[in-house]
């Protein structure tokens, strides 16, 4: 008896779905945008921020745009299937938001020449595939500056995830700021081998504070280090998303990835037919890297100086990777008056002078 009821219910459900789907086809076709996320949108970090960008798209375009997302997509063969499904189901523009989606994206793009693809953090372009990345190092430079000015113990902690170019680039940006504004400050780097493990990130923060670190920076995704700093009276800089709620006293500012302006711009371009395949780097000038606010715990003169630096970065007169830059061995890599180009920054695999530890092999 029960089984029959269940069967009827399922049949009804299927009919309902079919009707809704049919209605959807009849209505005016909205522009369909698909998103592929590597993590859960609930990570309050990387994927969460991309999803905030997706929500901003819906808000900006209203009924004209319909978005779909698939979360927790592993970087591998499965990604290709997910991307192909999105392409098959009439999506006009698909954002694939993790490095490991690079080859699957290109493969699917070849089969669907009418669909536009945008791949985050990659380096391979094709006729209908563009790439995009944000200049997180600009925010890191400001974090490094503030830490250099505010530290009392001259020990600054950096919780790092994996030794990939993105992380190495950001560590370098912090160290370059320290070299300039407080050469006595020491950067203590702890690798936790994870993007997301709140317990381990908190442990790393505590281990640093036990060793005298009073300002913590992180390149991992949970706000656990911020909380740990708050409990023990240290300071911390938030990463990827606004973490102010997690450290009433500890939070000095967050460097937020703001994908909304880029996503809105790209969707508009594809709608208008003006889209071109390119490698896009966006930073503070494009409002893609944002520091929403500085906390009251930073002395006013340091805030003023930090804001002046931000203005210079936006104006293009200050670049964190402007020469002279030496590597750890003391060799001059970037000469005075030159800037390390994006092509080199994309694959950077060396530490600048002053970073105390080696890159893990």
């Amino acid at each position: 008896m029960k089984k029959i009821v269940l069967k009827k219910f399922l049949t009804g459900l299927m009919a309902a779905v079919a009707i809704v789907a049919a209605l959807g086809v009849q209505a005016a076709e909205p522009f369909k945008v698909g998103f592929v996320y590597v993590g859960p949108i609930g990570d309050h970090g990387w994927s969460y921020q991309h999803d905030q960008g997706r929500l901003a798209l819906e808000k900006h375009f209203g009924d004209k745009v319909k978005t779909t997302y698939v979360e927790n997509v592993p970087e591998g063969a499965d990604a290709e299937r997910v991307i192909r499904n999105l392409a098959k189901t009439g999506h006009d523009l698909i954002f694939t938001t993790s490095f490991g989606f690079m080859n699957p994206t290109l493969k699917v793009a070849k089969r669907f020449p009418k669909v536009t693809f945008e791949h985050a953090t990659g380096y391979k372009l094709s006729k209908n595939v563009g790439t995009y990345i944000s200049n997180t190092y600009e925010g890191r430079y400001i974090a490094g500056f503030t830490a250099a000015k505010m530290t009392k113990s001259n020990k600054i902690g950096f919780i790092a995830s994996f030794p990939i170019p993105e992380v190495i680039r950001d560590i370098n940006a912090v160290q370059l700021a320290l070299n300039k504004y407080n050469p006595d400050a020491e950067l203590k780097i702890i690798w936790v081998n994870s993007w997301f493990d709140p317990g381990k990130e908190a442990d790393a923060a505590n281990a640093m504070m036990d060793q005298g670190v009073d300002i913590i920076l992180q390149h991992t995704d949970s706000p656990a280090a911020m909380q740990a700093a708050d409990r023990r009276g240290a300071f911390a800089v938030g990463q990827a998303s606004d973490m102010s709620k997690f450290g009433k006293k500890a939070h000095i500012f967050s460097v937020v990835d703001n994908w909304s302006p880029f996503y809105i711009k790209r969707v508009q371009q594809v709608m208008d037919g003006t889209w071109k395949s390119e490698d896009h780097w966006g930073g503070m000038a494009e409002e893609e890297i944002v520091i929403p606010e500085f906390s009251d715990s930073i002395p006013a003169d340091i805030v003023a100086e930090a804001q002046a630096l931000i203005a210079q970065i936006k104006a293009g007169t200050l670049h964190p990777f402007a020469g002279p830059i030496k590597n750890k061995a003391g060799e001059l890599i970037v000469a005075e008056g030159e800037i390390l180009p994006h092509a080199d920054l994309a694959g950077i695999n060396w530490f600048v002078e002053g970073v105390p530890s080696e890159i893990p092999k």
């Binding site: 609930g42 969460y48 702890i190 036990d210 949970s222």
Partner: protein, 308 residues
């Protein structure tokens, strides 16, 4: 290394080891009764999310912990219904429970990501907490850590000296014999599974309410699996589980401390330290094959049909 650093390392060792200790103790009781529940990770996550939401809504941490335990028990009873009631394969059911719990907790908790709560505070016991080196580690912890000490003591006594403990062991060793002499095999197993669920829920609550007071998807990051492995490597002995949990805690703290101090060892190697150290020590202790076999519940994972 100065005294303060050592004091802090030992303190962190206990805090890191506590969630593992709680889960592993629960799972050990469950396995002693002959039931293998691989759903620890799922039950922990459900405990973590339930505890977090309850505390977020009411502002009461103890209500939060209570709900964490309730969530763990409910999950474990779902497992019990399928694996014990319907005699399904325990390994498959346990794995399904983990997958289910991971997804369900993410679903329930999706609206609560990015919210902070006031975590459980440390209660330092006067005088005792000022003992050099070990004072902070033993007497300046939060209530759940103290509770874990008590739970360890109770479970140790339970299996060593209590009659009920003997019944649980009998049911896990030979359920048919136990049944023949009139012991309630199924009831014992249901209760043992429920206890395991309560402990996993409590450990999950400890993570989301005390250790890192926040909720995020999959925040247990595999601690349930480590606890499961601990039970095996500790050859189902209470005191070895305590040792293993703290050893794992110590090694995972040490690898972070060593990096901070600038040791020129690859962090990847250091990151393996907790696993290697724990496995090595516990395997060495149980290298006597015959003796360690004595401790493994003989009917572990085997379904029981009364009357066959």
């Amino acid at each position: 290394m100065d005294i303060d650093l050592i004091t802090n390392i030992l303190y962190a060792m206990i805090r890191t080891g506590t969630p593992l200790l709680i889960v592993a103790l629960g799972e050990m009781v469950c396995e002693k009764s002959g039931v293998l529940n691989l759903g620890q990770e799922g039950m922990m996550l459900m405990g973590a999310v339930a505890g977090f939401i309850a505390t977020w809504l009411t502002g009461n941490l103890f209500f939060g912990f209570l709900m964490a335990i309730v969530a763990g028990v409910l999950m474990s009873q779902l497992f019990a219904m399928i694996a014990l009631g319907l005699n399904a394969n325990q390994v498959a059911t346990g794995l399904a429970l983990t997958i289910f719990g991971t997804g369900l907790s993410a679903f329930i908790g999706s609206g609560f990501v990015g919210n902070p709560i006031e975590g459980l505070d440390v209660i330092a016991i006067p005088f005792l907490s000022e003992i050099p080196v070990i004072g902070k580690m033993l007497f300046a912890q939060d209530l759940i850590v103290y509770l874990s000490f008590v739970l360890f003591g109770v479970i140790f006594w339970f299996f060593r000296s209590s009659r009920t403990g003997l019944i649980v062991k009998a049911v896990g060793e030979n359920p048919h014999a136990a049944n023949a002499i009139g012991l309630p095999v199924m009831r014992t197993r249901y209760l043992a599974v429920a206890f395991g669920g309560a402990m996993a829920g409590l450990a999950g609550g400890y993570l989301s309410l005390a250790y890192t007071p926040l909720w995020a998807e999959n925040m247990t990051s595999g601690r349930g699996w480590i606890a499961l492995a601990l039970v095996v490597f500790a050859s189902w002995r209470t005191e070895r589980i305590l040792l293993g949990a703290y050893l794992f805690g110590l090694a995972s703290i040490l690898h972070l401390v060593a990096q901070g101090l600038g040791f020129a060892v690859s962090p990847n190697l250091l990151a393996m330290l907790p696993y290697i150290a724990t496995v090595l020590v516990l395997v060495m202790m149980s290298r006597n094959q015959g003796q360690s076999k004595m401790y493994a519940p003989i009917s572990l994972g085997k379904p029981f049909h009364a009357g066959t």
